[in-house]
Symmetry: C2
Subunit: 175 residues, 2 copies
C-alpha cells in the first residue's frame, strides 16, 4: 500500500515515495563502514557482512548491530550471549562479498585468518578494529532485531584505513 505522503509540488526533488525500493535508493547516499559480525554457535562459527553497526555509548562501551529476522544467521545470533564486530579495511572486499552472500559458513571462515579474544567469537586477525562483545539487549523494530552489545575486549590495528560502502560500491579511506 502506498504511504500517505503529500505531494510537495514546490520542491521538485522531493520524493513522495518511500517504498522499500525508494528507501534503499536513498540509503545508498549514506556511507557506511563495512563490518563482519560473527559469533560462535553450537554448530560452528557464524558471520555476516553489515554496515548497520553504530556506536551507542562509551560508558559502558556499547555498540549496536541491526539484523534482519529473516536472515539465515538470525537464530545463531539471538541464541548466543556474545558476538564480535570486525571492521574491515582495504583488501577485504572479497571477504565482505563472501560474508554478504550465500556461501556456507565453513567456506566463509576458510578465507582470512581468524582468532579469539575473550568471548570466543571469531575475530579477524587483520581487521582495522575488532570489538569483542557480550549481548545485553535485543530490540525488535519492524523487520529487524537491533542487537545491543557491550564491548569486553578490543583489538585495533595500527594505521589501518577504512572500507566504506557508498552508492552501492566500495570506497577506501586512508588513515
Amino acid at each position: 500500500m502506498k504511504p500517505d505522503i503529500e505531494k510537495l509540488s514546490s520542491q521538485s526533488e522531493a520524493m513522495p515515495c518511500i517504498t522499500p525500493e525508494c528507501f534503499r535508493d536513498s540509503m545508498a547516499s549514506l556511507a557506511g563502514a563495512v563490518n563482519i559480525v560473527t559469533t560462535s554457535s553450537a554448530t560452528g562459527d557464524v558471520g555476516f557482512t553489515a554496515t548497520a553497526v553504530c556506536s551507542v555509548s562509551d560508558n559502558p562501551a556499547t555498540l549496536l548491530v541491526c539484523l534482519n529476522r529473516s536472515a539465515s544467521v538470525h537464530s545463531a545470533f539471538v541464541d548466543s550471549p556474545y558476538l564480535a564486530i570486525n571492521t574491515l579495511t582495504e583488501g577485504h572486499e572479497s571477504l565482505s562479498n563472501v560474508f554478504g552472500g550465500k556461501a556456507a559458513m565453513a567456506d566463509r571462515f576458510a578465507i582470512g585468518k581468524w582468532e579469539r579474544l575473550k568471548t570466543g567469537s571469531p575475530v579477524l586477525a587483520d581487521a582495522a578494529v575488532a570489538f569483542d562483545c557480550k549481548i545485553t539487549h535485543i530490540q525488535s523494530v519492524a523487520t529487524h532485531d537491533v542487537i545491543f552489545c557491550e564491548v569486553v575486549a578490543v583489538k585495533q590495528r595500527e594505521q589501518a584505513g577504512a572500507l566504506v560502502y557508498f552508492q552501492r560500491g566500495y570506497h577506501h579511506l586512508c588513515d
Copy 2:
C-alpha cells in the same frame, strides 16, 4: 573501575582496556557518515551533528539516531514527534563543526539554506539526502537514548558525494 578483562598475552595488539577513552580511540577506526539531525521545537529549530545514525529496516523505512541524554538538545528531541536526518557532503565541514559545537541554535541555522518537507523539521536544501521522519520509539541504553524513526519524506540530491568522519578528521567520497 577497571573492567575485568583478561590479559591476552599472545596478542600484543589486543587492548585489555575498554575505558571510555580506549573505546573512543577504537571507534575512531569505524568510519561514519556525518549528519545533522534537526527538529522543530516550541522554542525554535534545534539541531546537532551526529555520526551515530543507522538504517534499521526498509519496510517500513526506519532509521535510528543515538543521542546522549545529557546533551543540551536532548529534551527538544524526546519531546518532539518528528525529526529530520540531513546527510552531509563535501563543503559542509563548517556546518558540521557549528552544529557539533556550542553555538546558539539561531546561529547554527543562520548557516546554510533550510526548508521543510512534511513534518516541519528543518531540512538542509543541499544535503546529499534528507530523511524527514516521525519518531516511533525511544530506547534508553547506557548514557544514550536510541531514537527510532519512520521516514515519511525523502529529498535526495543527484550526484552528491559523502562527508565521512574517520580517525578524527573529515574525508570525502565521490559519487
